[in-house]
Symmetry: C2
Subunit: 197 residues, 2 copies
DNA sequence: AGGTTATCTGAACGCGCGTTCATTTCAATC
DNA sequence: GATTGAAATGAACGCGCGTTCAGATAACCT
């Protein structure tokens, strides 16, 4: 009675759409609170069809989180790092804010759904997160050694700065008082002072 | 066949136990992922008995969050604020870290389960959260006016500082490298520099 | 034009969910 | 020792869950 394929468009699109929809719904309502049938409805398909693209619900969550963190690390690699530690820290600050504000849903999921990962999946995600923390820690460490930064504890400073920067995603609105650039400038100002440079 | 009450102890304890257990499980696995039957099992009771103490699951979540935020605001009122803005900011920093590290589960829930609140409950919780943010904002504002702090944007600074301080709860471990006092001291150092004092 | 294959449907599976309630149990009171 | 009433049981309610799969469908290939 109904069409097995959407008229005029290849089902090449169902895979990406599934991930888009899942990302939005997981971010909005939480992984545990969203059903496969809700996702399927928004994709425009029956629930069973989703399993042509994912092994199961857990695999879908894991894939979203892993992709996000791999994108994050790859994007930083592709970013101009600047000459010295001070320039690197500014680059990191601006990069982090820009990257995170561009994908609020993925960020939300990566920070909030860790506890819904099965142990082995959790280990992978946690490893990627650690790698990103190390990026900042290395910058701070180099700057401290070069006498550019004043830090009582490099590791804590890295965690503090990342928490501060990531916090932007919880309140920033595109139609708000400040532009992204303005926010990045203000935060860079605070970060610079916090590390004693 | 089974006892309706636990031998020797009044059921006076079931209410508090219910909240304790729910808080721990919600923090660990998330509100949507925890069932009333799981909570009941840990309390040592059948699921139906829980409804002698709560209206429904949503009411339980709301009660946990409201109580936590009211405790937070009341505890700050009872705290010695110090003489000037600089002293007040130091008091706030140390208070925030101490209070949050003492109740990691409640903190987790208050930050992660906002999206599982029904709209009217959300409004109440959001109002309490705003009131707490205003506490810090007022301190920063006074310090700026007094020329003690250098801040390009008071509101952003307040959000940044709170995000930074609350971040402690995501990594701090009692058996870790640093004591709570040491962590508080290091963070106060960074906060002080970040606000230009 | 006809066959192949990727894709989707629709029904089914067992299960656990939040919540209600008549009944039972037992500490406290008289 | 009988009465009372708060507290807990255990069964039941309808429902939606994640997942599977045989069968239907339509785009693609020759």
């Amino acid at each position: 009675m109904f069409m097995a394929r959407t008229c005029g468009s290849h089902s090449q699109t169902t895979g990406p759409r599934l991930r888009d929809v899942a990302q939005r719904l997981f971010a909005r309502h939480g992984y545990a609170a969203v059903s496969m049938r809700q996702i399927a409805a928004e994709v425009g398909v029956q629930a069973g069809a989703l399993y042509n693209y994912i092994p199961d619900k857990q695999g879908l969550l894991f894939d979203l989180m892993r992709t996000h963190l791999e994108d994050l690390l790859a994007a930083w690699q592709a970013e101009p790092h600047g000459a010295g530690p001070l320039e690197a820290l500014e680059a990191f600050t601006r990069f982090h804010i820009r990257f995170h504000l561009e994908r609020p849903d993925a960020v939300f999921i990566a920070y909030m759904e860790l506890r819904n990962l099965e142990p082995e999946n959790f280990a992978v995600i946690e490893g990627l997160r650690k790698r990103y923390e190390t990026v900042l820690e290395d910058i701070l460490s180099a700057g401290k050694q070069a006498g550019v930064f004043t830090l009582p504890d490099t590791k804590l400073a890295a965690l503090a700065v990342i928490a501060m920067l990531t916090g932007v995603t919880t309140w920033y609105r595109d139609d708000g008082r400040l532009s992204r650039d303005r926010v990045a400038r203000i935060y860079w100002n605070m970060v610079r002072k916090a590390v004693g440079a």
